[in-house]
Subunit: 343 residues, 4 copies
């Protein structure tokens, strides 16, 4: 464990304040399954942060579970979910969506993103079919913010996606496993309130942003709210000691800790990006968030690998490979300094 | 929250040693998804405790998730799982097993239990059908130890179930959400090693026995081991910070804490049972574990409800209702004393 | 093949008029998938017969497929279907409903029937749960008319079921695999139009009543109509040469052939019933339709088995077994005469 | 209906010999569900034609049903099926495979085909993943022969696919909805016996080749045979009057009618192809079977549309569109003559 870790954003436990909150509340006696006071308070905080007093808020443990539960609750059996080909549900969830009976309708991604134009084209093409019932009907849209490779959507891009969804009555689901890192990016031109007014359902990721685990699902569209707790339970996502989720999200969101931690990690990532850029390295993608994908030679990789842990991401050509460096709420400035010194 | 809680065995957080272990290891950097050293160590401890160095051990977050994942991994699409009608998977998991495509084949329960005889009869009846392929084929057996109403199987009963399973090549899965409370009961005549030699797959429940959450799945049958991690991931049960599970189970099992806590809770439950018995109350069932189901009148309930929280379980007749009192690792002797004084 | 067949109601091909219609139209060129003129005409005939010009009518090949398709189209993922324990979907479809993700919520059957009272009790009990989301939510009701053992519901029983469904917003689905035999029974006090005004969706069975195959699904509830063709296709039930279904149902229903054939088979069954009764035999159930279940001794069975094929249904006691004699559109009067002579 | 139909290969009923066979056997009394003598005889004929006396043969009604049933019977829950992106299961079955829980793992198609090289690359890439359990595991290979756009595989291409499958223990499933048209093509260098020795499971399509409906599944790999009838029943594919399938396949295969009809349709398609070629038209793809895809201008289409029905397939550019002309067992030489005259 002596290497400095830039491998992912879930290498450590939780922010000390989370640990402290869990410790202090440990012997409180509460009802199970999220019906406790901590969850109630956390729900109120989430609604306030999102500017959506009308929203339903639920807490689940992990991302794959959350994606599968939300999507299964929204779609009819013959419907599929439009998604970037690089989307997490299409690639890295062992077919959890298909296990629930639904096709992931992959659209070519542009730096991890899809566009309103692609959504309109997919729907128009489906409806223009002579016999559309022979094909899976697109029934919702899934996007990640930020995307799996760290890029983000602009407010106008999101509004265009929203408007495409409205034209075809498609609910819009935003995977926010790294939501904070996206919203706090210097390149981001929207607030969480704007995002909450655009998405029909989205989640605020805790696992990768300071919590031990946990994703806070926010449902703003009325028609998607009904019986969601049945869906959570059926999908195995209803934590017996649901309070653990309430305690964590209350702590993360009550005074802005969540966003502070994300902003710090983003700024560390920018320092790493700038250091690689200054040395003339190019990148797989221009990411303004906590994941950076410089393209290195085999020697570079071997050299940096001595002291730092990072992920091999994608072979670019014979001689070059894109790698991933992640910062997180837990990354020390000193670690970034040492990395920059080594670049 | 001023009432003394006997409502369930997951009202509190975790045993202080668990909290301490999580706190001490909090800033360690580890790989995700259960591939860390804590999980490795915990797996070794589990194998040793079970006397099964050959077993595969996996850690999941909750019971419904674990049941759905194991059963989905064992059955072929046209197979169902034999189970007591009162079994958790048949009643309290919102159809998670059916969501995975399988019928729960409910057998009449005798105090929460089924027997080898019932399994043999179900199989014989299926095979005697003229056209068995028109019916769901029984493909495995699920039992709970202890059962959902606190009863346990004797060693000879389990051996008979095992032998029925062998006769028909049915894997046997034991839900051990409250395993410790069963094994430490004075009425229990088997050890965890014997149980591990009888089940093909079972789990050691953490959620209800001292952990924040967590179920340790032990797979002893070779043919059930392959690719189980795919199943966990697909079912949404692969915790990103899997170490949290490893840390907890290592702590619970490394020196017998798990069994100590269970034994204590059982003995408290016996005190409660004896107090009700001494006053002439009868019981829904004679449970030798941490759940007790005395049958009370409306006045009894009203009176006890002033100071104690407990569950209304089942209406018996016009005037009587069975209720549930649970003890747990967190129950104080003083709380039991007060309850007994009030009985 | 020398025994006279009373084994089931699908021993032969189709009524000669069906064969003739298929032969005459054989070389017509039509579009596929039920979008041809024969299907259009058949749809009109079905709507007229049912007195429901507003209904949607679809043709599928077989009963299991139809049940699975309809139920999957109606339920949300966490919902199940209320059904008699003896219902076809619960017993004889190899878990097709569970394969689609849904639990069959079996209610004790009274001679194959369930009642409005049972439906109300099931819903009230579900809603009274402390935490109903831990259990499968009843989402629709399935009954068979006639039932799997030949009994029928009276108009008032159906109206009570309808009213129970209305109280809890449950769609009512009637499996009419043998619909004609039920409606033409002397004991039946309702018409197909009344049935069509009670059910939200039902089907007119062809396979067992004169067609080579085919079930005509009639959807009267507006909210169940949308996108049903997607469901049919996804479930594998969209016949490429859909015209085969249209031709058959047009022929069966255009001038009452369907009902004539059923009435004849029912009257033959009554002759068989009376003959057994006259000899003092008792019955498993008092069936007024084409299936009769006399209780015979081993010697009776051996004797009748020499000349007649029939089904062994259910052991009653050491010495007695209920068997099934079926008549159908194809049963000859002479065959019934010979059977009666042998009784 | 006055236009001459080249729209698809299922515009008519069945070859007259099929109709005659169904008529002659109509009043025979047989057991249901494929356990009759006609099915037995047909199974023997299929095995002989395929040179596989050891094979299991089952008859299903339609293609989507057959694909879903076979794939569901082969895969484990976390596995997917490798397939050309243009494969029928990926595009035109309304997600039937996903409804059964499995991801279709689409590979880029080369004129409708995939290669052994692609299969090896997909498997190698999966296995090289750091954490393959986060992705769907390829569990079988599906190809169509001929493909959805009429192309075929050469014997050496199939052998290479077979060998790739063997290297990674992947069962190979060949969709033969138009099998005869492929095997009888002048461009085809393999026999049905060779195909049967390469595939682990495949089917001989009846619906598009002279039958009213029906697909004959041939399972040659021992491990895939077990309990397949359960899968058929669960998937809704077990025809009550299974004899209808037996009668049709017996008739089609007992003296080579199936292959004669296919050869004739192929030769008619070649005449159409040559006529377009002679006039300088190019094609979407060089198809040696009964489907032809010439690329036409809007005026061409308008002109031909007056007298002929055909399918609009795919827009090529502003001015050009690929269309599809199908021949079948029912196509008259005179119709082809008239089409050629109009080209």
């Amino acid at each position: 464990m002596s290497k400095i870790q830039f491998q992912c954003d879930y290498n450590e436990g939780a922010h000390p304040r989370i640990i402290q909150a869990l410790t202090e509340t440990n012997m409180y006696q509460t009802p199970g399954y999220g019906e406790d006071e901590f969850c109630s308070e956390a729900r109120e905080v989430v609604k306030e942060v999102c500017g959506r007093p009308d929203a339903d808020v639920h807490f689940l443990v992990g991302g794959t579970q959350t994606n599968a539960t939300v999507i299964s609750s929204v779609l009819k059996p013959y419907q599929g979910v439009l998604c970037a080909a690089s989307g997490h549900i299409n690639v890295h969830e062992t077919g959890a969506i298909e296990h629930g009976g639904h096709k992931v309708l992959a659209l070519p991604a542009s730096e991890g993103r899809i566009s309103g134009t692609q959504i309109r084209a997919a729907m128009a093409s489906h409806l223009a079919e002579d016999g559309p019932e022979h094909m899976v009907q697109p029934g919702m849209v899934y996007i990640s913010f930020p995307t799996e490779i760290g890029t983000i959507y602009s407010l106008s891009e999101l509004r265009d996606i929203r408007s495409a969804c409205d034209e075809y009555s498609l609910p819009l689901f935003i995977d926010g496993a790294r939501l904070g890192y996206g919203l706090m990016s210097d390149a981001c031109d929207l607030t969480i309130k704007e995002l909450a007014s655009i998405a029909d359902v989205f989640y605020i990721g805790g696992t990768k942003q300071g919590a031990l685990f946990g994703e806070a699902v926010v449902i703003t569209r009325e028609s998607l709210k009904k019986d969601f707790r049945y869906c959570i339970k059926q999908g195995g996502g209803m934590l017996a000691k649901g309070r653990l989720l309430g305690i964590q999200f209350r702590e993360l969101l009550r005074d802005g800790l969540y966003f502070e931690l994300a902003a710090k990690a983003d700024s560390q990532a920018m320092r790493i990006r700038d250091a690689f850029k200054a040395k003339g390295y190019s990148f797989l993608v221009d990411s303004p968030t906590n994941q950076q994908f410089p393209i290195l030679t085999a020697e570079d990789i071997e050299r940096l690998d001595r002291d730092f842990a990072f992920s091999i991401w994608q072979k670019i050509d014979e001689d070059h490979t894109a790698v991933r460096f992640c910062t997180s709420w837990a990354t020390l400035d000193a670690s970034v300094d040492r990395l920059i010194a080594s670049i």
